[in-house]
């Protein structure tokens, strides 16, 4: 099961290939529908990968990842509106702010040994507290939300075509893939998975579970913050229920679980599959409120029952079977 250097190298090549192939999409098509689909699938991939860092590799299931998404989104919007800060400068602030909230929630939760269902519920409660706060205070625009004025230029991170946004979110996704690659192949990732699989055993060999989990939630929250900032740049609008409501939390978790937790390509797979499903239902039934979420919920339940390792788990099982047979037939690579 341990990843060898050669498989690590092949994974890197895979990430490079993915990056180049997706980056070429805006060059070969100018169809708004196609570009929009790829962009939104990448965005869903980003939040799924962010969730996967903490949930998949760390085994800490968050039900409130919108907490970090919303914080990034609000910082991105408020920095521009009230600070007059350029969006490219606001972006690192949004990422850092989201990571800081992640570290705060993580420090509290992990200090008191919260895990499993309790951690899930506490993250949800934190997201709710932030939602109510965002409705109540004035600098978030209250329930009305914040609108970022349209000033189309690359210097202002507002692109004339969907292609620009696609490249931007692709950059985030590739960064998240590289971090995931590092988790699979590096020392920190090994520690994190050791803590996930058996915290006491990990502690016994000298790993500090608190620090490891804290780093994981910080990293995970940082990518959610980037996703929030991206959301604000694309839609130029944010309000408390978009920012801290359950939809983003659910999307992140369902895509990661459907694709396969703790894997490199699982979240990508999950996000794409869910988006194709969502598009199909939209074509079949039209724009109905809630229908996407019904599909997501049904898929989640089915995956948990029949494929607890996600879609990527099928590939793993097939590969294990394959290599077992390969050993027998003596053409093992």
């Amino acid at each position: 099961m341990s990843a060898t250097t050669s498989s690590g190298g092949r994974q890197l090549a895979g990430i490079a290939l993915f990056a180049v192939a997706v980056a070429c999409v805006p060059l070969v098509t100018s169809s708004g529908v196609a570009l929009n689909f790829v962009m939104m699938a990448l965005y869903a991939t980003l939040i799924a990968q962010a969730w996967n860092i903490l949930g998949g590799f760390g085994g800490q299931f968050s039900f409130g990842h919108a907490l970090f998404f919303g914080t990034g989104a609000y910082i991105q919007a408020i920095a521009q509106l009230q600070g007059g800060i350029n969006p490219w400068v606001a972006l690192p602030l949004a990422v850092a702010g989201a990571a800081a909230v992640g570290l705060f929630v993580g420090a509290l939760s992990f200090r008191y040994g919260l895990k499993g269902s309790y951690f899930a519920l506490v993250t949800l409660a934190f997201a709710e507290v932030f939602r109510i706060l965002a409705v109540s205070v004035s600098f978030t625009g209250g329930g009305v939300g914040l609108m970022v004025p349209l000033r189309e230029s690359a210097a202002n991170m507002q692109f004339a075509s969907r292609g620009g946004y696609l490249w931007l979110v692709l950059a985030f996704v590739v960064a998240a893939l590289l971090v995931t690659w590092w988790l699979r192949n590096g020392r920190f990732g090994a520690y994190l998975q050791a803590v996930r699989d058996n915290e006491d055993a990990a502690r016994a060999v000298g790993v500090n579970p608190f620090r490891i989990k804290l780093a994981a939630i910080g990293l995970s929250a940082a990518f959610m913050g980037a996703a929030g900032a991206f959301y604000v740049q694309v839609f130029q609008y944010i309000d408390p229920s978009i920012a801290y409501g359950s939809v983003t939390s659910v999307e992140a978790l369902v895509a990661a679980i459907v694709g396969g937790m703790g894997t490199l390509w699982g979240p990508v797979l999950g996000a794409v599959v869910l988006h194709v499903l969502a598009d199909l239902t939209r074509n079949l039934f039209g724009e109905l409120p809630g229908i996407n979420m019904v599909i997501y919920g049904v898929v989640l339940v089915l995956i948990v029952i029949f494929l607890p390792r996600g879609i990527a788990g099928i590939g793993q099982s097939v590969r294990q079977l394959w290599s077992a047979q390969g050993k027998k037939g003596n053409h093992h690579e």
Binding site: P289, Y296, G297
Partner: protein
């Protein structure tokens, strides 16, 4: 100085709300105590029950209080089936999987309601909806008084089932020692499903008591989920007495907190209490192991 004449109605109000909270929490704590799972879909199931009560009244003219046995039976059957068909198969030996399955169920229920009934907030009109009685210096709505008494009666019934019947003994046996119960010839899967069904039947009762003085929309369950979890954790996971006391306590704190702090901050209060309790006193008031 506190003026008691302002505080008293608020206290009374909190106690009546607390009784319904307790009923909801009893269902949750029963499911936790026996199956050792957190039913994240508890709020969504309450929402479904509220819609059932609503449509029974609006379409068929059945009074919510008369609908009680029907709604309880319906919710019981729903819970029994849900446990047998979905939740029982989702575990694969991990608590997180069950939590995810119940999350999936709650997403499906809430969004089906959104799909079919739209996001409109609905309430029913009964002859007694607006009538009040005077208790000391306070005027209290009749439906709230009925809810208080009714919740206590249903809770008493639940205590009786758990304490005095064969079913209750089987449930307690399974909760304590699953393998041993199996060896004694108890059908564990059946007991699990019965417990889940009874837990949801409590929601059916709560819905009948709630709706005459309350409302229903697809998101209504969300507010109750964390309240119920707060009560259950506060009372000690799996403890019935804890859930009852915790229900009253949270009802009163919420009501008086709303009076002192105002509506929106009062809403935050419940989440802050939840976070604080889970972090600092996960064993609850009565020291039961979480």
């Amino acid at each position: 100085m506190f003026d008691f004449s302002i505080l008293f109605p608020s206290l009374l109000n909190g106690l009546t709300t607390g009784a319904v909270y307790a009923l909801i929490a009893l269902g949750l704590t029963l499911i936790y105590g026996v199956l050792h799972i957190i039913n994240f879909a508890h709020g969504a199931c309450l929402m479904a029950a509220l819609y059932a009560v609503y449509f029974l009244k609006e379409r068929l003219g059945v009074d919510p209080y008369l609908a009680l046995p029907l709604v309880m039976a319906g919710m019981f059957a729903f819970g029994y089936g849900l446990q047998r068909v979905v939740i029982n198969r989702a575990g694969h030996g991990k608590d997180e999987n069950i939590l995810l399955a119940t999350l999936g169920i709650s997403i499906v229920l809430e969004n089906l309601a959104l799909l079919f009934f739209k996001s409109d907030t609905r309430s029913i009109d009964t002859a007694y909806s607006l009538s009040t009685v005077a208790i000391g210096p306070a005027m209290i709505a009749v439906p709230k008084l009925v809810a208080f008494a009714g919740a206590l009666v249903v809770s008493g019934l639940l205590f009786w089932i758990m304490g005095r019947t064969d079913l209750g003994r089987a449930i307690r046996a399974v909760a304590k020692e699953k393998e041993g119960a199996k060896l004694m010839g108890i059908d564990v899967d059946h007991v699990y499903a019965m417990s889940f069904g009874i837990g949801l039947a409590c929601l059916g009762a709560a819905a009948c008591f709630l709706l005459p003085a309350y409302y229903v929309n697809p998101q209504v369950g969300g507010g109750f989920v964390l309240v119920a979890f707060t009560i259950v954790v506060l009372g000690g996971m799996g403890s019935f007495v804890g859930a009852l006391v915790g229900g009253f306590l949270v009802g009163v704190v919420e009501s008086i907190g709303g009076l002192v702090l105002g509506e929106s901050l009062g809403q935050i209060g419940i989440f802050v209490i939840f976070i604080a309790v889970v972090l600092f006193r996960p064993q609850g008031m009565f020291g039961a192991k979480a």
